[in-house]
């Protein structure tokens, strides 16, 4: 028993060290003790998920009595905030098919003479230096948006409303089936959902193949075809947390299904969704006045 305890303590120490090392490389977005208070929302309004620092979130959780709060496992409604790096979520992709390899290589952008990436082909607005900005990110790329989303439960559908890019997807729950041959391809796909016990299972198809599953480092992105199918399993772990596991199947691009690790989002009772449109003119101004002069030394 003593030996096992020692093993356990050593494991804790190792994990703490690992966690510290990870933080040192890529520290979390907010420190334990913010130096300044965030800007409060106007009276009678709530702040946005992204506008809160860790102190705000802690205070809101206490104010709304999140810990130990009773909950209905079949009710996902609320504002949720996940702060998960895409690079830690879209991991361990299966091997590409020959077409997949070709499609991936086509996502790599231009480099300068020093071999540094300059003009990305990421047209979503995330990648500065793109010639086109604000194409929809689509699903599942929005899964790692760290600006929060809201689930709205309606009798015949669930709406997932994202602050970043101010967009939504509709998950139909009225029993309809996914179409075999969708009449249009969608950035957010065609989505249907059903309850399997207390797990909300979402299945999707009919995706526009111009979106990326996620960006890859240092450039490019994981491609998908219009044959991509996605299965998500959402589960409310407790009142304050929801978990999702996503599996992507696209035999044209990947040799096997791609099961992503589970991701958790936290309830943000003190927040409401604000407006973050991806505005092409704003993104182009940023590109021309800030990003490109810094990256290339030239102003467009």
């Amino acid at each position: 028993m003593r030996y096992r305890m020692r093993v356990f303590i050593m494991m804790l120490a190792a994990v703490a060290a690992f966690s510290g090392a990870a933080s040192a490389q890529e520290p979390g977005r907010t420190p334990e003790k913010p130096v300044v208070a965030s800007v409060p929302a106007p009276d009678g309004w709530k702040t946005c998920p992204r506008c809160q620092n860790e102190t705000d979130r802690r205070e809101a959780n206490a104010r709304y009595k999140v810990e130990g709060h009773a909950f209905n496992p079949r009710d996902l409604s609320g504002v949720w905030y996940g702060d998960v790096a895409a690079g830690r979520f879209f991991v361990n992709p299966p091997a590409y098919t020959p077409l997949g390899k070709e499609r991936f290589e086509a996502t790599i952008g231009e480099k300068n003479a020093a071999g540094e990436y300059l003009h990305t082909k990421d047209t979503s607005g995330i990648g500065s230096g793109a010639q086109v900005n604000c194409d929809p990110r689509g699903w599942p790329r929005l899964a790692t948006s760290n600006y929060g989303f809201e689930f709205i439960m309606l009798p015949d559908r669930v709406v997932q409303f994202f602050e970043q890019t101010h967009t939504w997807r509709t998950i139909w729950t009225d029993g309809r089936k996914l179409p075999e041959n969708p009449p249009e391809l969608r950035w957010m796909g065609w989505n249907v959902g059903r309850w399997d016990g207390n797990t909300f299972v979402v299945e999707s198809t009919g995706f526009d193949d111009r979106s990326w599953i996620s960006a890859t480092q240092p450039d490019g992105g994981f491609p998908h075809s219009d044959q991509m199918r996605i299965t998500e399993r959402w589960r409310r772990v407790n009142y304050g947390a929801v978990e999702v596991q996503i599996t992507i199947t696209d035999p044209e691009i990947y040799t096997q299904p791609w099961a992503l690790p589970s991701l958790q989002a936290a309830l943000n009772p003190g927040a409401e969704i604000w407006e973050y449109f991806c505005v092409p003119s704003d993104f182009n101004t940023f590109n021309n006045d800030v990003y490109l002069p810094v990256a290339t030394g030239e102003k467009k």
Binding site: M1, R4, V7, F8, M11, V15, A16, F18, S19, A22, S23, E26, P27, G28, R29, T30, P31, P34, V35, V36, A37, S38, V39, T47, C48, R50, C51, Q52, N53, D83, V84, A85, A86, G87, R88, E116, Y117, I126, G127, S128, T144, N146, Y147, Q264, W274, Y276, F277, C278, V279, D282, F283, T285, F286, D289, V290, P293, V294, A295, G297, K299
Partner: protein
């Protein structure tokens, strides 16, 4: 403790550790700024405009160079809502405000920087991201 329980505990501990280490994804590369220690630049100027828009807020201020000419400097921050979490509001800076700005300079030598600290003439620190530069990656 049975091995299966030990594994379950190990799994839980590792999961928590991974969640603690998790960070947000950066929108835009900051490779163009010189983040080397000791390379921070500080100058004094007068704010001419603040672009409070997505994807990133930026502040423009005028600085007199050695020959007395005005140079427009551009300081990049993070998204408006991220800056709100850091206590900066849409009207924190106004045209005509005198500031002392400290920033990571653009490697390309253009008058651009990633803003780290801004102080008013009376010594009031308006913004100090020295300990939280990771915020600027978002």
């Amino acid at each position: 403790m049975r091995p299966s329980r030990l594994s379950a505990v190990a799994f839980a501990v590792i999961t928590v550790a991974l969640l603690l280490g998790v960070v947000a994804s950066a929108h835009h590369s900051r490779a163009g700024y010189d983040s080397a220690p000791g390379k921070l630049v500080t100058n004094n100027g007068v704010v001419s405009s603040v672009i409070w828009r997505n994807p990133h807020v930026f502040v423009i201020w005028d600085v007199k160079d050695g020959s007395g000419s005005l140079v427009k400097w551009t300081g990049e921050l993070s998204s408006p809502t991220t800056m709100i979490s850091e206590g900066m509001a849409r009207d924190t800076f106004k045209a005509g405000d005198a500031i002392t700005a400290t920033f990571m300079p653009a490697k390309a030598g253009t008058p651009h920087g990633l803003l780290i600290k801004v102080v008013r003439p009376d010594g009031k620190v308006v913004l100090d991201l020295s300990e939280r530069r990771n915020l600027l990656e978002q």
